[in-house]
């Protein structure tokens, strides 16, 4: 397919996606026939009760895992047609992540954590870009600090800087504020949405916080692995 085709279709498209695992008590269906399309520039919240399959869906959309049936396309690439290494290259080019538990490398400083995606990609002028990204989350002065020397909110800001630094087209965030207190939660959410706007990134956000969900353009609600509502 050529670039004009790709421009016309959804950036992320999941069709009839199911995921099940074999457990001790037989087959366990985590996701059942879920379809979802996300266009470039959209912001989508995936909501649902704990255990409803939000994280599983996010991982499938990001190509971290493969569905048991159905297919996922990311920027027009059928993920199941790629091997793990090719999917990794695609993620590197296309995707940024923010996790509930930050997931910074403990042995690297804040600046080096932010540098990581740039260096993996072999990008030009990585240091300047990493510093700019840190500055944009208000941590310009903390570049030399290690994760253990920072608060949870600060760590999450470093993680957000890392997610945006290589200008990905899609940002996946799994409960980005789940581990934080009230005030910090709002500050982090503000930061996330501001950067998302500035970079015109497509955002897929998992949360069970209704306030956060309502800030997105669309809510995709899961109950026991099935899509129940599409709130616009």
């Amino acid at each position: 397919m050529d670039d004009s085709d790709r421009a016309n279709m959804a950036l992320i498209s999941a069709t009839g996606v199911s995921r099940h695992v074999e457990g001790p008590a037989g087959r366990l269906d985590i996701l059942d026939d879920v379809s979802l399309e996300v266009n470039a520039g959209e912001t989508v919240a995936i909501t649902g009760a704990s255990g409803s399959g939000k994280t599983t869906l996010l991982a499938l959309l990001a190509g971290l895992d493969l569905p048991s049936s159905g297919s996922v396309r990311l920027d027009g690439h059928a993920l199941d047609a790629l091997d793990e290494e090719a999917r990794a290259r695609l993620r590197l080019r296309l995707v940024g992540f923010v996790f509930q538990s930050f997931h910074l490398l403990p042995a690297l400083t804040a600046e080096e954590n932010v540098l990581l995606p740039l260096e993996l990609d072999g990008a030009a002028a990585p240091l300047a870009r990493a510093r700019a990204a840190l500055a944009s989350v208000g941590l310009a002065a903390r570049g030399a600090h290690f994760p253990y020397q920072m608060s949870g909110g600060e760590q999450q800001r470093v993680a957000i800087a890392r997610a945006f630094v290589h200008q990905p087209r899609i940002l996946f965030a799994d409960e980005p504020t789940g581990n934080l207190d009230h005030h910090t939660r709002d500050a982090i959410a503000d930061l996330l949405f501001r950067l998302n706007r500035e970079h015109a990134t497509t955002l897929v956000l998992v949360t069970h916080d209704p306030v956060l969900a309502r800030r997105c353009g669309r809510i995709f609600d899961l109950v026991d692995g099935r899509a129940v509502a599409h709130t616009a």
Binding site: T55, A59, A62, L64, D65, E84, E85, A88, R89, L90, R91, L92, R93, V95, F97, F99, H103, L105, P106, A107, L108, T109, E112, L116, P117, E119, L120, D121, G122, F146, D174
Partner: protein, 828 residues
């Protein structure tokens, strides 16, 4: 490149991680032990050759029936070697109406090049000297007594009158198994002038060379190609087969100790790498999620391990060399004085560093490679990591590395095989024992008390880690028991092969009629353990009816060897230090001649039981059937023969007798009278050889103690690494249990059960594996057949180790039990 950068950045903080420190320390130890031992062994080898050199008087000798062409000395000088000529011959000396046959050495001013000629000058003081000046002679005490002379007086040899200017105390060549009459040393010039060396004399001429090992080796090659027909090379290595056995054993023993220590370190490395890999699982998953290739993730981890490893290895080389240098300078028991002068060999220490890196590669590769299969999904859920069997085959790598290491270092696949089999047997046994134990636990845990259940079910829950832990501790303990208990015991058995009353003199040329008189005379001077064997000198003439000249030997050398003189003996009972390895010992009433051969002959001439060998003794031909194959322990100082005939037929051959006996050193002078009474006999003094053999055992023992000290540290590292493997899980569990209200004493009891079981399994395995492995080593590698494992000591040490494991495990959990649960939960 980027992965290297990431690795270096990570290292800034991660060098504090206990597993990286353990890994570096283990590697450092391995390199230090292997390096120091190899350096010492190389130096010792050199010392031993130098020692033997002192027996022949040079680093190499060319022995000929007539004086050698001048080219031999010229070539030696061209290679930068020092040379000396001497001749040995029997000659009768006269003084005041008495006469005595002397064994004369006529040397030039440089003789001896190696070893010492020590004489007491007339004033009674000992001095290190070379061959005397023209007109002078040195004689030994026996010659003085026989001729009724004193130092300072004169005697006549070959028509010359020579003044006695010294009494020989020690002389190179004293260990030679050549007939030794009382000795005299005079100058080569005198001997030539008196015509003592002319054609028709029985003199043997020797050219000695000495210098750097490389030059000596070059000369050896040259001389071999240019030897006249009547000449042959005498090398220190082949002077004494008896010592050769001791040297070989010494080398093997040292290497064995070094290797066990290195393997211990290898286990610690493997455990650390395993733990490091487990710690990094989450990070690898994250890197994969961020889009890093699996090669990148593997590369950065491998690099993180490689940097401290290389640094540790280099530091190890430095420490090993320093220790070796220190040992040379201060540990006098370790090396003979002669060896301390030689420069420190650098090669072995660097080779050890290479081996250390190989150990790291082999032992750390499997867990790291396994990380490549960590799915990116694991950033969300650790359980997404499925046990991949794909990398299981990689666990063969450390096994192969270990085996290769063993074989390379010992140069013996047999030793490597025995050790590898013992260790893998131990591992298999541990796995079996652990699995059975865990199965029993799962079955009966419900009936146990709560604390017990908690402890043992913890083992069952962490099956993978439990298996690794028990295996590591069991293997570590096995290696330690082999080093600390079995090795000293082997040494002890070895030492006992040369008890204080080991024969230190041989007498040859005894006529049958003299035997009883000689035994009586020797008894009178205080000799004990008199043991006489008949000797007939003959030739092997036919094998299975085919003339030796026409026999299809593999190679010309064998034919020559077969044509040489052989000494035959016979005995009613199997002589000491002999073992039958195949066939049966002679029946007393054999109808037809039977023969028993040493295994070396069997191999050399490719013989089989039932073959017929024809021997010619004088003009008597005897055709004997091969009915038994013996293994002779040549390291014993007994009279031994390659060829034994059945007594009924042997006794019909013309023969003399050879006897061995023990005479306390202080009585040696009494033999002067004995040799005067029996002038036709030749006495051979093997005291120096015995000293050397005993010295070797002592040196090896001293070196082994050094190795053991390091091995204990390596063992402690293994233990620490193994016990902390489950620390993270344990901390988490303990915190949870505490939160749920478990009492401290319950947690402690649970830990005690867990580690007690671990210790018991490891201790039992180590006990059995080290005892069986030790027996196997003793019999098939060291050929020490009198060895029995010291069961009581082993059991005691094994028990103590099991208790130590339990105690250390318990001590390790103390902090966990004391800390408030919340802090513990937070830290994960």
């Amino acid at each position: 490149m980027i992965s290297a950068r990431l690795a270096l950045r990570s290292l800034r903080r991660e060098w504090r991680l206990p597993e990286l420190r353990t890994l570096a320390a283990a590697l450092l130890l391995a390199v230090v032990v292997l390096g120091a031992v190899a350096t010492l062994a190389a130096r010792m080898q050199r010392a031993i050759v130098m020692n033997s050199a002192s027996l022949i008087g040079g680093d190499l000798a060319v022995d000929a029936a007539s004086p050698l062409p001048p080219a031999f000395a010229q070539h030696a000088h061209a290679l930068g070697l020092r040379t000396s000529r001497f001749a040995g011959f029997p000659s009768v000396a006269f003084a005041g109406g008495r006469s005595q046959l002397l064994s004369v050495t006529a040397g030039d001013a440089a003789w001896p090049l190696r070893g010492k000629l020590v004489v007491a000058n007339p004033s009674g003081r000992n001095a290190n000297v070379h061959a005397p000046a023209v007109g002078e002679v040195y004689v030994d005490h026996r010659a003085l007594v026989a001729l009724g002379l004193q130092a300072g007086q004169s005697l006549q040899v070959g028509g010359m009158t020579l003044r006695i200017t010294g009494v020989i105390q020690q002389q190179p060549g004293a260990g030679d198994l050549i007939a030794l009459a009382p000795r005299a040393v005079l100058s080569l010039a005198d001997a030539q002038r008196a015509g003592l060396l002319g054609t028709g004399s029985r003199a043997k001429h020797q050219l000695l060379v000495a210098g750097s090992p490389a030059a000596v080796a070059a000369y050896r090659a040259w001389a071999k190609a240019h030897l006249p027909g009547d000449a042959h090379l005498v090398t220190p290595e082949e002077v004494q087969q008896r010592l050769a056995v001791a040297f070989a054993r010494a080398g093997t023993f040292l290497k064995l100790s070094g290797l066990l220590a290195a393997l211990l370190a290898g286990i610690a490395v493997a455990l650390s790498a395993q733990r490091y890999a487990r710690r990094k699982t989450g990070e690898v998953a994250l890197l994969r999620a961020l889009g890093a290739s699996s090669r990148f993730a593997f590369g950065s981890l491998a690099f993180t391990l490689a940097v401290p490893a290389v640094l540790a290895a280099l530091a190890g080389v430095g420490i090993a060399l320093a220790l070796a240098a220190l040992a040379f300078t201060y540990a006098h028991g370790l090396l003979p004085p002669a060896a301390r002068a030689a420069p420190l060999p650098l090669g072995p220490a660097f080779a050890a560093a290479g081996i250390g890196i190989a150990v790291l590669g082999g032992f750390a590769l499997p867990p790291l490679a396994r990380l490549q299969s960590v799915p990116p999904m694991a950033v969300f859920r650790r359980t997404a990591i499925q046990a991949s069997r794909r990398y299981d085959a990689l666990y063969a790598v450390p096994v192969l590395v270990a085996l290769g290491l063993l074989a390379l270092e010992t140069g013996s696949w047999k030793l490597a095989g025995v050790l590898a089999a013992s260790l893998s047997g131990a591992a298999a046994f541990t796995v079996l024992l652990t699995l059975v134990g865990l199965a029993l636990i799962r079955r009966y845990a419900a009936r146990l008390g709560p604390a017990l259940r908690l402890g043992v079910s913890a083992l069952a829950r962490r099956r993978g880690i439990s298996l690794i832990q028990t295996c590591a501790i069991a293997l570590g303990l096995t290696a330690l028991l082999l080093l600390a208990v079995i090795a000293p015991n082997l040494l002890q058995s070895w030492r006992q092969e040369l008890p204080p009353d080991t024969p230190n003199w041989f007498v040859i040329n005894i006529e049958t009629a003299q035997r009883a008189d000689i035994q009586r005379a020797l008894h009178a001077v205080g000799a004990t353990g008199f043991n006489a064997m008949p000797v007939a000198v003959g030739k092997l003439v036919a094998i299975n009816g085919v003339d030796v000249e026409n026999a299809p030997f593999r190679g010309h050398d064998l034919r020559e060897e077969a044509a040489q003189q052989v000494r035959l003996s016979w005995a009613t009972a199997l002589p000491a230090a002999n073992r039958i390895v195949d066939g049966h010992w002679f029946q007393p009433d054999a109808k037809t001649p039977e023969v028993s051969l040493d295994i070396a002959w069997i191999r050399r001439f490719d013989l089989h039981l039932g073959d017929t060998l024809g021997f010619l003794v004088g003009n008597r031909r005897i055709d004997a059937r091969l009915t038994s194959i013996r293994q002779v322990d040549w390291s014993r100082f007994n009279v031994n023969f390659f060829v034994l005939l059945d007594p009924a037929h042997g006794a019909t051959l013309p023969h003399t007798w050879i006897a061995s006996f023990h005479l306390p050193r202080t009585r040696s002078a009494a033999l002067a009278g004995f040799s005067r009474d029996f002038p036709s006999l030749s006495l051979i003094d093997v005291n120096q050889l015995l000293d050397r053999a005993r010295q070797i055992v002592a040196q090896v023992g001293a070196a082994a103690r050094w190795v053991l000290a390091f091995s204990l540290i390596a063992g402690a590292l293994v233990l620490a690494a193994a016990l902390t493997m489950s620390a993270a899980e344990r901390r988490h569990e303990a915190a949870l249990l505490r939160t749920l209200g478990a009492r401290r004493s319950q947690l402690r009891l649970a830990a005690l059960c867990e580690f007690g079981l671990l210790g018991a399994i490891a201790g039992l395995t180590a006990l059995l594996a080290s005892a069986l492995g030790g027996m196997w080593l003793a019999h098939s590698v060291f050929r020490i057949h009198a060895f029995t494992p010291p069961w009581a000591t082993l059991a005691l040490v094994a028990l103590a180790s099991a208790v130590a494991v339990a105690a250390l495990g318990l001590a390790g959990t103390r902090k966990i039990v004391r800390t408030p649960p919340l802090r513990l939960l937070r830290r994960d």
